[in-house]
Symmetry: C2
Subunit: 356 residues, 2 copies
Amino acid sequence: MAPKGVRVSGVTIHEVATRAGVSASTVSRAFTNPQLVRADTRDRVLQLARDLGYTPNRAARGLITGRTGNIGVVVPDLANPFFSAVLKGANARAREADQIVFLADTDEDPGVEEDLVRAMAKQVDGIVLCSSRMSGHQLHELMPSIPLVLLNRREDDRPAVLFDNVAGVRRLLAHLGALGHRRVAYLGGPRTSWSDRERRRGMRLAARREAVDLVELGPFEPTYEGGLRAADPAAATGATAVVAFNDLMALGVLNRLAARGVAVPGEVSVAGFDGIPTAGMGALPLTTVALPMVQAGRAAIDLLLERLADPDPDAGRLQRVLDVDLLVRSTTATPLAPPPTPPPNPPTADVQGGRP
Amino acid sequence: MAPKGVRVSGVTIHEVATRAGVSASTVSRAFTNPQLVRADTRDRVLQLARDLGYTPNRAARGLITGRTGNIGVVVPDLANPFFSAVLKGANARAREADQIVFLADTDEDPGVEEDLVRAMAKQVDGIVLCSSRMSGHQLHELMPSIPLVLLNRREDDRPAVLFDNVAGVRRLLAHLGALGHRRVAYLGGPRTSWSDRERRRGMRLAARREAVDLVELGPFEPTYEGGLRAADPAAATGATAVVAFNDLMALGVLNRLAARGVAVPGEVSVAGFDGIPTAGMGALPLTTVALPMVQAGRAAIDLLLERLADPDPDAGRLQRVLDVDLLVRSTTATPLAPPPTPPPNPPTADVQGGRP
DNA sequence: ACCCCTCGTGCAAACCTTTGCAAGACGGCG
DNA sequence: CGCCGTCTTGCAAAGGTTTGCACGAGGGGT
C-alpha cells in the first residue's frame, strides 16, 4: 500500500511537528497563519522546517483548499516569438506570486485547444488563453468550469487583456498615407483570430479616413512561410504598401520580394504587427505596430489573480486595453514610381495561401 | 471545513460510484486496471463517467501513487528561439504521454535555477534541465532529490540529451578552411555554458587540424545585443571569419558589421550555432551548425519517462548524442582580400562584451 | 477569590484517490 | 455433495495537508 513511486523528499509536516514537539496543526499554521502561533514557537518550527528542508506538499494542500497554486497558459504556437514573449512575462509574474505555470501549445488547432483546457482545468486555479482560436460558443461552454482570462481576444465582457489594434492600424495607415501611398494590401491571418478581425475592421475604417484603396487578401498562415506565399498575390494587386497580419509574415514577404527583385521600401513598403525582436534584427528593420507582449503576459496573470482572490464574477471591469506603439523603421517610405506594371513573375501563382 | 476555493468540477469518483451503483474502488479500477472489472460493469461505469464529465483528480491520485503526471522543464531564456523550439518538442512529447509540462525560466541565473528546481521538485515526477548554468556541484546536490535529465549539458554519466558539438565545429572549420580562411575568431558565450566549453574545445582541435589561427574572445551575452557588442572586437582581430557562440549573436555581428560597412561574406565570413528559424529569414541567410532542437526536446522527455518507468539508476546508458548539421548559406565565402587594414571605426571599443 | 476573555495549541475530520485484503458468488472436479 | 480455485467487488487504510471546534492556561477586572 505504500506508494511505489520514488518518494522525492520524504519530509512531511508530521516529521517537523514531532521534532519540534508540537502538533502538525501548529506547523501548518506557522506557515499559513503565522499570527495564530506564539512567536517563539513559530520561529522554532520555521527554523526546524528550514533545516530539514521541508516544503509543504502543494498537492495535498490543494486537495483541501481547492487551490492548486498552478496557472495554465495556453498558446497557439510556441515557435512564434510573440507567444514566447507573452509567456515570458506571464511566467515571471506567476513566479512572483509563487504560482507555477502549466504550459500548453495547441498548434493553432481549436479542437486541441478545447481538449487541453479541459484536461488542465482540474489541476490549475485558472487559465490564460492567449489568442484563443476557439469559437465564441466553445469559449462560453468552457467559461463556467474554470476561471479564464483571455489575452488578445475579446469575448463579450469576459476578463481579458487586449491591444488597441484599431488605434495601431490608424497610426500605421496615417503613416502610410502621409508617405503618399494610395493603394494598400492587407494580408490576413487565421480566420479564427480575433486580432485579425480587429485589424481588418481597423484597416477599413482607416482606409476610408486616409482615402486609400484597401485590398484584403488571405487568410494565410501566420508564419514566415505564410508570408512567403502571400508576397506574390500581394505584389499582383499593384498596391504600393503591404501590411501583414504579423511580423513573421511580413518578414516572409520581405524575403520573397527581395528574391523577386522588388525594391523595399522603394517600390513597395511593408509593415507588420507585434514588434517581435526578430523584426528588428534583419538588414532592413521592419516598420511595425509593436505590442507590449511581456507586459501583456504579466497583466493577464494579474487579472487572473485578482479574479481568484475575489471570485465575484462581476467584480470591477476586468478588461485591460494596452497601448500599442508604431515603430517606423526601414521598410516604409514614399513610393518611387507609379504602381509598377505587372511584375515579371507570373502574378497568378496561388492566390490562396494559408489553410482555408 | 468545506474548501473555500471555487470547486471547479465537483464531480468526484464517489458521485460516479453512487450513480452507477458500485463502490468507488470499482470506478477507480475501471480507469486504472480495466481488466480487473467485469466487462459490462466497466462499460456502464465509464459511460456514466463520461456523461458526468468526470476526470480523476490527479493531485489526489498523486498523493497516493507518488506520481504526479507532471514534468518540469527549465530553460535559461524563453526569449531565445532555441529554447522555444526545445520546449515545443518537449511539450508535444509530454502531451502524447499524457503528462503536463511545468515551465520555468531562469533568466540565465544559476541561483534562480537552483531555487526553481527545488520548488518544482515536489510537484513533478522529473525535470528536464535545458542548458543548465549550474555548477557541477550544485547539480550533484540536486540529483538525489529528483530525477533529472540534462539537455545540452554533460555531467559525468547522468542522463542527458547532447549535441555532437565537436563534430559540428569540425565540419564548420573544414568548410571555412576549404574556403581559404586562415584566421578565425570565436565569440564565446556564457562561461557557465557547457556547450560553450565544448565548442571552444572543438575549435582548438579543429583549428590545429585545419592549420588556422584561432582567436578566442568573450564571454559575451548569448543574445543579439551580445553579438552587436562582440562585432567590434572581432573585427579588430583581423580574422576573416567569425564564429559566434549561437545564431542570435551571429545575427548581431552581421548587423553591426553591416553598419560599419564591412562586407559579409566578402571581407568577413560569419557563422553561428543552433539553426534557429530567424537565422534563415534575413536578407543574408546565416551559415550555421543546426541542432535538432525539437527532436532534442522530445528525446529528453523520452529519457525521463524511461527513467521513471525503471527507476533503477543505472538502467542502460542514458545519454543520447544527436547529430548536427552544417547549413552552408550566404554568410560564408572565400575572403576577397588579405585581412583588411584596421577598419575606419576605432577598433578599441569595449573589448569585453557580456557579463564577466 | 471568582469569573470571564483571550491566546495558544491539539484533535479529528475532510479533501479524493488507490490498493491490499477479504469476502461472496459461482463453476468444476473428485 | 463438498472442496477448491477463479472472478468480481467492497471495505478501509493511507497519502499530506488545512481548519472548525474544544480545551486549558493565564491575566485582568470586580
